[in-house]
């Protein structure tokens, strides 16, 4: 049995890496990947707590499944956007994609 704090430390680190990726990387694909990392960190947390609380309904696992589904959809749309941006602007550097600028 892995002890809960270890799992939490792991998921926190994973989330932090994801945040870093989202904030620091300039490549849109990598940003998407980082988001996936953050989502997975959340999934780990959900499963961990679900176990720790011994939830009869295993709501945590169920939620994790939902998150995975949503993440898959999100990645699908995200990659589609990225591809469209690439087609239009020949780049996927998010710094250069600033159409909503003032």
């Amino acid at each position: 049995m892995i002890r809960l704090p270890l799992v939490l430390i792991f998921s926190g680190a994973l989330f932090a890496i994801g945040v870093y990726g989202v904030l620091a990387r300039r490549n849109a694909v990598l940003v998407l990947m980082s988001i996936e990392l953050m989502l997975n960190a959340v999934n780990v947390n959900l499963v961990a707590f679900s176990q720790w609380l011994r939830d009869g309904l295993v709501a945590g696992q169920v939620f994790a499944l939902f998150v995975i589904t949503v993440a898959a959809a999100e990645v699908g749309i995200g990659l589609a956007i990225v591809i469209l941006i690439f087609r239009n602007r020949e780049t996927i550097n998010v710094d250069e994609v600033n159409l909503l600028r003032w």
Binding site: L23, V94, L99, L100
Partner: protein
């Protein structure tokens, strides 16, 4: 007939309207209607007179209008005085109108002239018949406006229009107190009926104070109308009118109105000794100063005008003697009407012939104009008081009464004036009819239509005096007297001798000085006194320069200035102030109120401009904010 006496004023008044609207189509261009109407009025007057002689007396009143609790009536009061006046006014007016047909034949506005004459006559008759103060006032003022119209008949010349204005405004000045006198009587007596007022005044129902005030105020009107000192100045200027009009004004209508009014309201005057004294003093002053002025005139009509003023002074002085002089004064009014009308018409005849009013341009007319000459002589002698002509009887009666009433001041002035009268009339006759002709052209006797009235009037001037002569039983004094008892004329041989003697002295002196024509008037040797008289005691100058002109120009201009500049300035000032205020409000509105609104907008803009930099379009930066935000919130929530 006496019941129909109201027709006497109504006929000429109706004739006026007829002449105005239809006069031009009438064969005599309006004169026919006028003469016919006056003739009819004369016939009725004579009939009424005869009835009044027989003791008849008619007094009627018809309601006129009411205002509050005051009731005004139109009435007629045909007593002896009114009956005499009817005859005098209609007769003189009739003769003047006949004469005018000749005199005015070639003058402009012939028809209008007769319309005005008719109105003049009718107004005067209305004044005579009136039995209500306000009815009297209507006649009184109408007489004034008619004289305005007729004096200014030749209005192409400015002087004539000036004279008309002067006449109206001067008499109107006197009318102000006159109207106030009527007010006093109206309220003091509670009625405007003259008969009732007389009864109340005599019965002591009106306080002496009220009577004095009323009488003095009423006399103010007579001072204006009858040209008494100090408002006599209009009458000589009124000579600007056609000469027949002067005859009418001086004999029967305008100036007689004042004397008649005093006679008609004598009940009021008799109730106040102070008022009577005032009347007598004014009369005495007037008779003397006017006679003196008559001495220095070159205009023949002005000589006569001043003589009228002087004779009116006699009448007023006589009335001022009280009930004793009442008959004498009104008798003089009666006789004076005939000889003064005669003299004016005679002067008119002369002027008609020589086309000048100036006696220095006449002379020697006695041969060229015999009828005018002889009638003029009769008139002058009557005026000068030569027995047995009309003036002698009436003037003598006044002198006698003044002496008997112990009014020695009046008596002395009257006697002295008699002397002066004889003198200036002699002067006028000498300058006009004797010597050699000094004017232009060849004068001829006037046409028949003018000489016939002269002869008729000369006859009357000769005999009218007998009607009031002392030896005649039931004469004038029976008809016209104040109080129950007739005050028969007294004959005083001494007085008669005195006045005739003085008249003779005057005539002799006049003849001595003027029997032979001199280029320089002998009276000029009086020096400054002559200048003083020549300038009419400077009264005209005082009135004109002291009152009329200042009001007319500087005062009026000042008042107008206050209206335009000060009062209007205040109004416009309010306007300007309001506009300034508006501008200020507008500024405040624009800067402050609207400014605040705009500031809010601008401020929002600035804030937006600042904040827009947040909108980098950089998703990652948004994410940083998001993250920081979450972190901050996390910290906050954990702390709480």
């Amino acid at each position: 007939m006496i019941e129909q006496a109201w027709l006497i004023p109504v006929i000429p008044l109706a004739a006026t309207l007829l002449i105005v609207f239809f006069g031009k189509r009438e064969p005599l261009r309006g004169a026919g209607i006028s003469i016919l109407a006056t003739g009819a009025a004369f016939v009725i007057s004579v009939a009424v007179f005869v009835q009044v002689l027989g003791g008849a007396h008619a007094e009627r009143s018809w309601p006129w209008f009411e205002i509050g609790d005051l009731r005004f009536e139109i009435g007629m009061n045909v007593d002896g005085l009114a009956a005499v006046m009817f005859v005098v006014v209609t007769l003189v007016s009739l003769l003047v109108q006949i004469y005018s047909v000749g005199y005015m034949a070639h003058e402009p506005r012939f028809t209008w002239y007769f319309a005005a004459l008719s109105l003049f006559t009718g107004s005067m008759l209305n004044l005579v018949i009136a039995n209500d103060l306000f009815q009297l006032l209507v006649g009184w003022e109408l007489v004034g406006i008619c004289s305005y119209l007729l004096i200014g008949h030749f209005w192409e010349e400015k002087e004539n229009a000036d004279a008309a204005n002067k006449a109206f405004i001067t008499t109107r000045t006197g009318d102000v107190p006159f109207v106030f006198g009527i007010f006093v009587l109206t309220f003091a007596a509670g009625t405007t009926n003259i008969t009732e007022i007389t009864e109340l005044a005599q019965g002591g129902a009106i306080s002496a104070g009220a009577l004095t005030v009323a009488a003095l105020l009423l006399f103010g009107g007579a001072i204006g109308k009858s040209a008494q000192f100090p408002l006599h100045v209009w009458l000589p200027d009124a000579m600007a009118g056609p000469t027949p009009v002067s005859a009418l004004i001086h004999a029967a209508t305008m100036v007689a109105a004042g004397v008649y009014m005093v006679g008609r309201l004598f009940g009021v005057f008799a109730g106040s000794a102070e008022a009577l004294t005032f009347v007598a003093v004014i009369g005495a002053i007037t008779m003397l100063i006017a006679a003196l002025l008559a001495l220095v005139q070159d205009d023949i009509k002005r000589v006569l005008a001043y003589s009228t003023v002087s004779q009116l002074g006699y009448m007023m002085a006589a009335l001022g003697l009280g009930p004793a002089g009442y008959t004498a004064g009104l008798f003089h009014l009666f006789t004076h009407a005939f000889f003064k009308a005669l003299l004016f018409l005679g002067a008119g005849s002369v002027i008609h012939a020589v086309h000048s009013n100036r006696m220095s341009e006449m002379g020697g007319l006695r041969t060229a104009m015999p009828v005018t000459f002889w009638t003029f002589i009769i008139g002058s002698a009557a005026l000068a008081g030569i027995p047995p002509l009309a003036g002698f009887w009436s003037k003598d009666e006044i002198i006698v009464e003044a002496f008997r009433e112990a009014q020695y001041g009046v008596w002395i002035v009257a006697v002295l004036t008699a002397l002066l009268t004889a003198f200036y009339m002699t002067r006028a006759i000498a300058l006009t009819f004797f010597g050699d002709y000094r004017g232009q052209g060849h004068p001829h006797e006037s046409p028949r239509v003018m000489t016939v009235p002269l002869v008729a009037l000369a006859g009357l001037a000769a005999v009218a005096g007998f009607y009031g002569a002392p030896f005649l039983e039931g004469g004038f004094s029976e008809l016209v007297h104040f109080g129950e008892e007739a005050h028969a004329a007294q004959f005083d041989l001494g007085m008669a001798a005195l006045s005739v003697g003085l008249a003779a002295v005057g005539i002799a002196a006049g003849w001595a000085l003027y029997g032979r024509w001199r280029e320089r008037d002998p009276l000029r040797s009086l020096g400054p006194l002559y200048a003083f008289l020549d300038r009419k005691y400077f009264l005209d100058d005082v009135y004109l320069r002291g009152i009329v002109r200042p009001i007319q120009y500087p005062i009026a201009a000042f008042v107008n200035w206050t209206s335009r500049v000060i009062l209007d300035g205040i109004v416009n000032g309010f306007g300007i102030l309001a506009r300034l205020l508006g501008r200020a409000t507008e500024a405040v509105d624009r800067r402050v109120v609207d400014g605040a609104v705009n500031r809010v907008a601008v401020g929002t803009g600035w804030t937006g401009a600042l904040l827009r930099y947040v909108q980098s379009g950089n998703v990652q930066r948004y994410a940083v904010f998001l993250f920081v935000g979450v972190a901050v919130l996390a910290v906050i929530f954990t702390r709480v």
